[in-house]
């Protein structure tokens, strides 16, 4: 089934050059009372991109999600989506964006079609148009046979698809998703991400998602990495990984501090302690592994090396681990 979205807007076709960016963020800061959640963010998201906001818990990505989805007001700086200012023009913007929340926003006590109906009504869609859009969504997301089932009887993966179908019902040009595949098993996650890909490639929808999941982040065109409310990197996953020098060697040892000093003195390596391991970034990592094992083999519990992952990029940029607490990573 085909889905068409009029990216240029309903009336006057605008030339691509004149089209505003999908998202423009300029010197955006946000604080909850004393705590600064976002600190002077500036970046642009292009139309048709799948853009990921990657960051650990507390990095500010949920705050940014809430601002972009019009749930939190702007404090300082500016942000606009599809040319609508988030400061003054949220009502008109809401009709052009679709939002998928981390916690279900579908009503579990209602059926799939009832959920779609309510959502359509909230966006001013009704009657024959609503029926057609609902049927299209059910077909597109493979939900037709479960249409009259209560949502609470569906699997987690199917519930997420209902969530997507609902958020896409009013044909948004841009979708904002907050950790959308949280709680899904790997197979359901992959399937969900395939749907995101299809929405972008077949309907031209810009996708902006927050995530702390590396697999999700890997599938984005570009990712912005957030740490402590600041944007520490912004590029494609491949280019971000290329920033890390060569291979990543991870060493477990009984006495980390002693080994770190020896590596520093005798191997001219500069290991970082992250989550109870020593990490070294090195070109030709296999040779480094061989040398380390020959010289310090008796002190080592395990040693691995591999190509950098996005998690390595994060550690490379921030000097601390992605999942652990900061105190552990001195």
């Amino acid at each position: 089934m085909e889905i068409s979205v009029n990216v240029a807007g309903a009336n006057a076709p605008i030339s691509p050059a004149a089209q505003p960016h999908a998202v423009e963020i300029d010197a955006l800061s946000f604080s909850y009372k004393e705590r600064r959640a976002l600190d002077n963010l500036s970046f642009v998201i292009e139309r048709g991109e799948i853009f990921g906001l990657l960051g650990p818990n507390g990095s500010g990505k949920t705050t940014l999600f809430k601002i972009l989805s019009t749930l939190l007001p702007l404090q300082s700086g500016n942000a606009s989506i599809l040319g609508h200012s988030l400061r003054s023009d949220t009502r008109a913007l809401r009709r052009r964006i679709g939002v998928v929340f981390q916690h279900p926003s579908i009503d579990l006590k209602l059926t799939v079609v009832e959920n779609l109906m309510h959502h359509g009504h909230l966006f001013g869609i009704r009657g024959e148009q609503l029926r057609q859009r609902s049927t299209a969504m059910l077909g597109w997301f493979g939900l037709s046979e479960r249409r009259h089932d209560l949502v609470e009887t569906l699997s987690g993966g199917l519930q997420r698809r209902v969530e997507l179908a609902q958020a896409f019902l009013h044909e948004p040009e841009l979708m904002i998703l907050d950790e959308p595949s949280t709680g899904l098993d790997p197979a359901a996650r992959r399937e969900f991400l395939d749907y995101i890909d299809r929405l972008r490639s077949e309907a031209g929808v810009t996708m902006v998602l927050t995530t702390h999941h590396m697999e999700e982040a890997e599938r984005c065109d570009r990712i912005g990495i957030l740490n402590d409310g600041r944007l520490v990197a912004l590029d494609s996953p491949a280019r971000l990984k290329a920033q890390v020098g060569g291979d990543v060697v991870v060493i477990r040892a009984k006495n980390l501090a002693a080994l770190r000093d020896q590596l520093l003195l005798k191997m001219r390596a500069s290991p970082v302690t992250v989550s109870g391991c020593l990490r070294v970034e090195r070109p030709r990592g296999h040779e480094f592994v061989r040398d380390v094992v020959e010289r310090f083999g008796d002190q080592i519990e395990s040693i691995t090396f591999g190509k950098p992952t996005l998690e390595d990029v994060f550690i490379h940029l921030t000097g601390h681990g992605f999942y652990g607490t900061r105190q552990e990573d001195q």
């Binding site: 809430k66 749930l71 939002v99 009503d107 309510h118 909230l122 966006f123």
Partner: protein, 263 residues
């Protein structure tokens, strides 16, 4: 735009009704509990207890009746609004908040939903009035049902004011017990205003629910030989005060909802 918003409010109302229909136990429970209270209290107190200022020709069973209709309204109206607390952070309302519908309209949809949910079981309670020896005329039923809707609307809005302000359902229960039970006790449900000590009388006059209960009592006794022969305000001014109160509560709820941010 306005038209769309009205459709949005309608759909929020419809959702409440659909959910309510699927939870039969909620319907039954919401009116059984006050029914049992009324029977026990009425039976226990009827023989020995006769508060000062009670209208002539009415026994205590009958006197308690309007107050317990209001209790049905109170329970259902308030509890229908609890879901707002969690719904808004991790449920259905998240999606509503990012839809092109104003908070005022969201509150209308929610308030109409809660009002309907409270009104249905209280109407069942109303038609049982002849069992208590209260004669019902058609006028009494129609006017009572209207007044009950006004009371239900104001109580739902009180619930919404609190539900849009606070972050946890525990907090909600605490505030409810602190505010609503006293409001109900002082509303003239248990004893008439005219027989109360001066200080309590003033508290009762300040209690907005007093006027709802008074209007309902007057309407219910339409068919009764003694009429509404007591010191309570008569049905029209009481209904007016109750309506003004309901409107004020709605405006407050809309204001609180408009200012609520989801941190």
């Amino acid at each position: 735009m306005r038209h769309w918003s009205a459709l949005g409010a309608f759909t929020l109302w419809l959702r409440e009704i659909t959910r309510f229909r699927r939870q039969r136990s909620r319907v039954i429970g919401s009116f059984l509990q006050p029914l049992v209270f009324w029977l026990l209290l009425g039976a226990g107190l009827n023989a020995s207890f006769r508060p000062a200022g009670m209208p002539a020709g009415i026994n205590y069973f009958q006197y308690l009746y309007p107050g317990f209709i209001v209790l049905v309204l109170l329970f259902t109206a308030i509890f229908s609004t609890i879901s707002t607390v969690e719904d808004r952070r991790e449920g259905f309302l998240q999606g509503v908040l990012v839809a092109p519908i104003s908070r005022q309209m969201i509150v209308i949809g929610q308030a109409m939903g809660g009002t309907t949910l409270a009104w249905i079981p209280s109407c069942i309670f109303l038609v049982l009035a002849p069992l208590a020896g209260i004669k019902l005329t058609l006028t009494a039923v129609v006017v009572s049902a209207l007044i009950m809707a006004i009371i239900a609307f104001s109580l739902t809005c009180i619930g919404l004011i609190i539900a849009w302000r606070i972050e946890s359902t525990q907090g909600f229960h605490a505030i409810m017990n602190l505010i609503l039970i006293p409001i109900w006790l002082l509303s003239g449900a248990f004893w008439p205003l005219s027989g109360a000590p001066a200080a309590v009388g003033w508290l009762m006059r300040l209690d907005p629910l007093t006027y709802g209960v008074a209007a309902l009592r007057a309407a219910l006794y339409f068919g009764h030989p003694s009429g509404a022969a007591n010191s309570l305000p008569s049905v029209i001014p009481s209904t007016l005060i109750a309506s003004t109160f309901a409107l004020t509560m709605y405006l407050l709820a809309a204001r609180v909802a408009s200012r609520a941010t989801s941190y």
